[in-house]
Symmetry: D2
Subunit: 226 residues, 4 copies
């Protein structure tokens, strides 16, 4: 009898261990926007809440891998240690703002052709490990709705490059740039350059984090999160 109870406990433990093992890992790979996403009000926490509401939180582990000032080539440099070593099931790449912004800010942005080259190199490494890859377009550098954000033309250009890469690599896209632009057209009547979805035109405020989490859920729930 004791043996039976012991075996039952063992079976339950193994089952639980097995369930734990099957919790799928999603890594959010990006810059300071993603680094901040682990804060209480951050978009990773908000996505976790959405999953919890739908009783899905137990199946997914959301991991932040954001580093401030990162551009596409910084992701490439650190992807072995920060992403591949963690054996994720899916990676959400959210990069591009600094590649554009730092051209003006520091003279150290990224050429469009090299942005594409490094982006493809990252996807190739992830696909080689059978990791699902989701691409985000960069959301905003300035929130003005009348087409006068100084860098928005170049940002739109990099968003277009990412959409093209997504198609070429058969990856799903989370088109934050389009979502932000559409949202701001309706919700920024005073044409402010910050304060609707961001604190400073770039980094997400509470509304922005909720908005991004929802956009991510919408795409991830189509094929990955069930």
């Amino acid at each position: 009898m004791k043996t039976n109870i012991f075996l039952l406990a063992l079976a339950i433990s193994l089952f639980a261990f097995n369930k734990m093992q099957t919790k799928k890992k999603i890594i959010f790979f990006g810059d300071s926007i993603t680094e901040l996403a682990l804060n209480t009000e951050g978009y990773i926490k908000k996505l976790d809440s959405i999953l919890a509401q739908k009783d899905l939180a137990k199946n997914y582990e959301l991991i932040g891998a954001g580093t401030s000032s990162n551009k596409i080539y910084d992701l490439y440099l650190r992807m072995d240690s920060d992403v591949l070593a963690k054996k994720p099931d899916a990676v959400v790449i959210f990069i591009g703002v600094n590649d554009v912004w730092h051209k003006k800010l520091l003279g150290t942005g990224t050429d469009a052709d090299k942005f594409e080259k490094f982006y493809n190199a990252i996807i190739k490494k992830l696909k080689n490990k059978n990791i699902a890859v989701y691409l985000c377009t960069p959301a905003a550098i300035g929130e003005k709705a009348d087409f006068t954000n100084p860098l928005e033309g170049d940002l739109n250009n990099y968003a277009a490059i990412i959409r093209k890469i997504a198609i070429a690599n058969n990856c799903s896209i989370i088109d934050l740039r389009k979502a932000f632009t559409d949202h701001l057209k309706e919700n920024n009547p005073q044409n402010k350059d910050r304060g609707i979805l961001t604190t400073d035109g770039v980094h997400l405020n509470k509304s922005g984090n909720i908005f991004v989490a929802q956009q991510m859920y919408n795409v991830l729930s189509k094929d990955f999160i069930k």
Copy 2:
């Protein structure tokens, strides 16, 4: 008899002189786009043709005052010799492309607040001489129609500043930026960055010169050219 003939000749001369005097001077004040406007296919020549068609060419002298690489403060520096000394009746200011473009190209663009300050200083000097002032918004840096021209956000910003200056100073505006954007939306299905109205995204081709001449005529004919 001799005296009569002499008097007649004198009268004709005076009449002719008077007519010559009453030919109104319009100076086109700007950068390389305006420097090139005196070419056979340039927008000043094209505007002259429009006036000729309407039998108005005899009443207006169109004078080019464009210098390549000019920004707003260059106009201010040379306006005494190149504009005021010629005693124009009207001045069409067409500037702003280099103020934006050279930020990226050379690191020597113009801050938005100083752009506005110098622009106002130029208008003040012209108005003090009772010269009619027409303001053009800068037409284009890149002709792509999907909002991905790298500098278009900043260019739109400077166009918005010029519209604001026009209202504050009660000047007529020739809104080339809006006209170009609207035209390209309809006439650039392949989303090319040059070749519709410009040769290189900035300088006007033949179609662009005709287009600009027509835009200028549309505004000038409302109150100045009759």
Copy 3:
């Protein structure tokens, strides 16, 4: 008798008034470095102290005309109201840091050829009013002594342009760039980028203000201050 006393008092008053009138005006015309020079520890106050020590302060009125963010063309725009209207006897021009620095910082520096053109235009206007003109070279953008201040090559280039302008216009030069470089070679053994003569690599600390005041006195005392 009363009349005599009255006349004597009148004579003294007129004499004093005359003396006051003959106090020579020196305007210091520049950017934020000069705007800060009116502070207690500022270089204008320090120069005033040097004059006081030599019992010369009563003969000279030192006037600050520095505005932060100014570049050469900003001086040209405001020179009528801020300099000529005050009828100075001498003007010390101290400009050039922002013309170089803002290329990198904001993309809105000044092209070398235009720097020279505006500088010459300013000198011409001052000389037309028989005002003595002193030119300063820009002192520093970074204090490192091993030739690794990122912008020092370009700054040296603008300093060389100013030296050339001084010769061409027969103006005295206050060569702060040379004086700073020589001083830092001897006095910056740790190769720090700030803290010897500046607070931040650009704006003068107390030692820097005293140093600049002395450099100015050395040159002004050769022909102007006696």
Copy 4:
């Protein structure tokens, strides 16, 4: 007898093959300066000539791996295919000009801290394969000898970073920046910005290629080439 001759021929062939196998591979890894180094007048060809004169050419295979527009992170991206796959014995890294130059030219230079990070990552990968690593400092952006090349301060800064990396990683340094500066001080009396060792201030002319080949030989012959 025939068999003997055959065996002798075979032995000679094998000996030759063996010699060929032991020819040491040196890869020159860099940007357009190195891409051009394979031209008849290029520095790799010139170094080959120096080796030939000393009867050493048969022992070393010099391989060019230069790609125009490359910066430090581009080397990192392509080092597996372009360097490691070729199993070199030594790698001469000659990079840094574009990392500085493109800040101004295109707004896409490299931040100093990231330059260092990628440089170290490259060295680590090479050392892991027991490859000898030689570091060159970037030679020039402008040849003027009076410290007025606009970007020379920043270039000196990156050269200093490379010297520091060399010491930290115990790598030999080929200090082209120092060699160029010293040479130009003596050999550029007219203070020209190009034409002594370069065609355009950056890319080597014939004298420059010979000069660089000699500098490389001087260092390589200390421990690697014998």
